[in-house]
Symmetry: C2
Subunit: 119 residues, 2 copies
Amino acid sequence: MSVIKLSDKFATFSEQWAPKLVGSVDDYDVKIVKIEGDFVWHEHADADELFFVIDGKLRMDFRDRSETVNAGEMIIVPRGVEHKPFAESECHMMLIERTGLANTGDGAASERTRAPEAI
Amino acid sequence: MSVIKLSDKFATFSEQWAPKLVGSVDDYDVKIVKIEGDFVWHEHADADELFFVIDGKLRMDFRDRSETVNAGEMIIVPRGVEHKPFAESECHMMLIERTGLANTGDGAASERTRAPEAI
């Protein structure tokens, strides 16, 4: 049970859209990720998903609107709501969600699907 | 599903050691709290607990050592481990833990026990 220094963790990788596992709370993952550009539309039918912006700016697109999330802010996407993260320039985020969720949602895996790697 | 701006949320209260509920992920609470000084020794036999420091400095005491957690860092206290948060000066934290956990742990409620209030 050591202190998790996010800046040190972010410094260990440069890959984008590849969540890294930095801890867990019961059966919930604490992950960090670097994103830039557009992702794919997806949803998690039975799981909420928390996005906490550490650095940069996230635009979370929904089918009917978008929300801008700045550093120090978060958005929780409720289960069953289609969403698509986007970042104009590189954005660093912390994610909290139930262990085992696919980053690309409930559909078939795609070239964007990544299992989190513990770092 | 709106953006949760932690600085705005922290500005709405001044009470210390009184967790406020700002969101939830499935049946996990996302809470914020202001602390200063010493808390009580406690544990949660069957639940992990995440402490993310937003501002200030947390010293998490364990029976055999202490860990210092600065802003932008976190510590996850595993289930069954006695701990006692301490802050020399006011520290702002985000907590993530299963809904329903008592802030003072598994024992009988005390004058430090607080149910989280949604803000």
